[in-house]
Symmetry: C2
Subunit: 359 residues, 2 copies
C-alpha cells in the first residue's frame, strides 16, 4: 500500500475533534474556544491594525488566515475556526454593515417588505469569495491533527441584527416584527435559511471540515417562537447540508434555549450541541449526551478571572461530561480582557485531565 | 352564627388567588399582571406627575395606594400588587438610588468591603415605613375577593443593581466580583437575604397576603452560581418567612433559570413559581406543576401587540397549565406602550375560558 493516499478513515483518525463529532468519546477531550482568534491576543491586535475596517479585515485572506492561525501557534487547540463574522452574510445580501469601535455592529434596520425584496441572495458566493479563499489557504496550512471549522450565524440571530440595526438587551423590535408581520418575517427567515445553506455549502467546498451555527440570541424568544424561528430553520439547514455533504458534522449553538436544548438533541439532526454556561451539566449528560456530542460550557468570565475558580469550573465540566462524546469549549466567546496565560493554563488542564477512577 | 366574624377558611374561600397558591386548581384561573400599575395607564402617568421623583412617588402612601388600585378599577384582576420598586431596599440600606427618566435606575456602584460595612440593615423598617403604611391602607380598601401582594427583589437581582450601578446586558461587573471575591460577595448576599426577610416580614405584618420575590436576572448566572446566589438565598428567605408567617404563600420568579426551575420546585419551599415566557409549557406541566402552583407566562410583547397572536398565546397557556393549580400572568412586566384595551381583552379571555372537554 506504499504511496497510497490516506483514506478518509485515516484522516478522520488523525483529527480528534472530528472523531468526537462522529460520536466517539476521547480522552483527553478535544478543545477549541469560541472567539479564540480575538482581541485578547496582542498579535491579533497588530494584525487587526493592518486593515482600515473590520469588514476589510475579514475580507483580506492574508490577514484573516493569519488571525485564524494565531491561537494554534500559542495553544494546543484541536480546531481552527475561520476568522470572520456572522454579519458578513447580511453584508453580502446588500445591507450596509459597519463595526463601530467600542459599540459593536451597526446596520441599517430592515423593517419593510420592499427592503426584503432588494436583498441579493444570488450574490452571496461572489461577495464572500474572500472568505472561501481564506478557508482554502487555511486547509493547506493546518497541522494534520487540527480540524478546520467554518461557521455562520443562525437565521434568527442574523435577523436580530438586521431588524434591530444593532445589538440589543431584549430584541423588542425584531420580536415585535415577528409577531405583527409573521408572513414578512417568515420570508426573511426563509431567505436567510436558504442563503445560509448556500454560504455554508461553499465553506465546505472551500475546505471547512465541520461547521458551527451560532444562534446567540435564541434565548430571547418565547417558547413557540423559539421553535419556529430557531429550531425549525436550523433543522432545515442541517438537513440540506447533510444531503449535500453527509461527511461534514454540524454543531448548533442555540444559546439560552434552556429546556428546549432537548428538542435540538431530538429533532435538529445536528452532530453536536454547544451549551451555554447556564445549562445544568447533570441534566445535559442525562438528557442530551445520550443522543448527541456535547460541547461547552465554561463561563468566559471564569477564563478571564483564572485561578482556582477557573480550574474548579473546568474540572467540574470534565467530570460531568468528559466520559461521553465531548468537546471542551466556553459557554460563549472569549472576553477581550482575558489574559492569554489563562487560556494556556486551561488548555493544559484539559489536555492533562484523566477520567476519574472513583467507583 | 349570625354576627360571627368570618373565619380564616371563609376568607380564604373568598380569595381565588390565595386558594390557588394553597394548591387548588380553580376555573377560571385567577389573574394578575406583573407591573399592572404602570406607565401604560394614563391615570398612572397623572399620579406619577404629582411626585418630584420616582422614589418620592413610592414613599408617598396617598400616591402609591392610588397607583396600586388603578388597575382593579379598570380590570377584573384577582390581585393588587403594592406599588413600589425593588430598589427601595438598597436605598434603605444607605445607597443612593436615582431613577433617571428614559434610562432607568442609577446607583453608586458598590465594589469594596468598606462600602459593605457602611450598609444600614437596622434602618430598613424605619426607612420603609411609608411602604408599610401603603400596604395597611391597601388592605383596608381592597375588595374582599382581591388579594394583596407584597414583593421584593431577590438578593442576586438587587446585588446586580448595587454592584453594576445600573441595568446591564450581561452583568459582568457583579458576576466578576462574585468570582474574584466570593467571601465579600457572600457577605453582601447574606446581608441582602437577612434584610429581605426583615422587609418582607414587615410587609406581611402590614397586611400583605402573599409575596412575590423577583429574581429578574437569575438567568445571567452560570449553573453553580445560580444555585449559590439565587436558589440558596431564596430558599433561606422562604424558610424564614414560613417559620414566622406560615399562612403567607411565597411566589418565586427566578427569571431565565431554565432547567433549574426544577430545583426551585423541588427545593425552595415556595408555594408557587412564576415562569418566564421562554419556559416550555409541556415541560413545566410535567416537571413543575405536580409539585407547585405555577404562574405565567404570556410574552409581554404579545400583550402589547394584541389580536389573534395574543389570544392564541393566552389560550395555549390556559390549555397547557389551566387544569392544575395556576395563576395567569405575564412572563415579565407589562411594557409601557401596551394599550389598556389589550389588557381588558386578555382579562376577559382568561375569565371566560372553559377547560377543554376533549378526551
Amino acid at each position: 500500500m506504499l504511496g497510497k493516499t490516506r483514506s478518509a478513515d485515516e484522516i478522520l483518525m488523525a483529527k480528534p475533534l472530528l472523531n468526537v463529532l462522529a460520536g466517539q468519546a476521547i480522552h483527553p477531550a478535544p478543545i477549541w474556544l469560541m472567539r479564540q482568534a480575538g482581541r485578547y491576543l496582542p498579535e491579533y491586535r497588530k494584525t487587526r491594525a493592518k486593515a482600515a475596517s473590520f469588514l476589510e479585515f475579514c475580507f483580506t485572506p492574508d490577514l484573516a488566515v493569519e488571525a485564524s492561525l494565531q491561537p494554534i501557534r500559542r495553544f494546543a487547540l484541536d480546531g481552527v475556526i475561520l476568522f470572520s463574522d456572522i454579519l458578513v452574510l447580511p453584508h453580502a445580501l446588500g445591507r450596509k454593515v459597519v463595526f463601530v469601535e467600542g459599540k459593536g455592529p451597526v446596520l441599517e434596520p430592515l423593517r419593510h417588505a420592499h427592503e426584503l425584496d432588494r436583498l441579493t441572495p444570488q450574490a452571496v458566493r461572489e461577495s464572500l469569495a474572500a472568505v472561501f479563499e481564506t478557508l482554502r489557504r487555511l486547509r493547506q496550512e493546518l497541522p494534520k491533527d487540527v480540524t478546520l471549522i467554518g461557521f455562520a450565524g443562525a437565521p434568527w440571530t442574523v435577523a436580530c441584527y438586521m431588524v434591530e440595526g444593532e445589538g440589543s438587551r431584549d430584541f423588542q423590535a425584531v420580536r415585535r416584527l415577528a409577531y405583527r408581520e409573521p408572513a414578512l418575517f417568515a420570508r426573511l427567515i426563509g431567505l436567510l435559511t436558504d442563503s445560509t445553506i448556500d454560504y455554508l455549502s461553499a465553506q465546505i467546498e472551500a475546505g471547512a471540515e465541520t461547521l458551527q451555527i451560532f444562534d446567540s440570541w435564541a434565548g430571547s424568544l418565547a417558547e413557540a417562537e423559539l421553535r419556529r424561528w430557531s429550531l425549525e430553520p436550523l433543522t432545515r439547514i442541517v438537513a440540506a447540508l447533510k444531503q449535500r455533504h453527509p461527511e461534514v458534522p454540524v454543531i448548533l449553538f442555540p444559546r439560552g434555549a434552556g429546556v428546549l436544548y432537548r428538542e435540538f438533541a431530538l429533532a435538529s439532526g445536528a452532530a453536536a450541541l454547544s451549551l451555554d454556561s447556564s445549562l445544568p451539566l447533570a441534566w445535559a449528560a442525562e438528557e442530551l449526551q445520550q443522543r448527541t456530542t456535547l460541547q461547552g460550557n465554561l463561563d468566559p468570565l471564569l477564563l478571564l478571572e483564572g485561578g482556582d475558580a477557573m480550574r474548579e469550573g473546568a474540572e467540574r465540566i470534565l467530570r460531568m461530561l468528559g466520559n461521553g462524546p465531548f468537546v471542551f469549549n466556553l459557554g460563549h466567546g472569549i472576553l477581550p480582557d482575558t489574559p492569554p496565560e489563562h487560556v494556556a493554563e486551561l488548555v493544559d488542564l484539559v489536555r492533562g485531565w484523566k477520567a476519574s477512577t472513583t467507583a
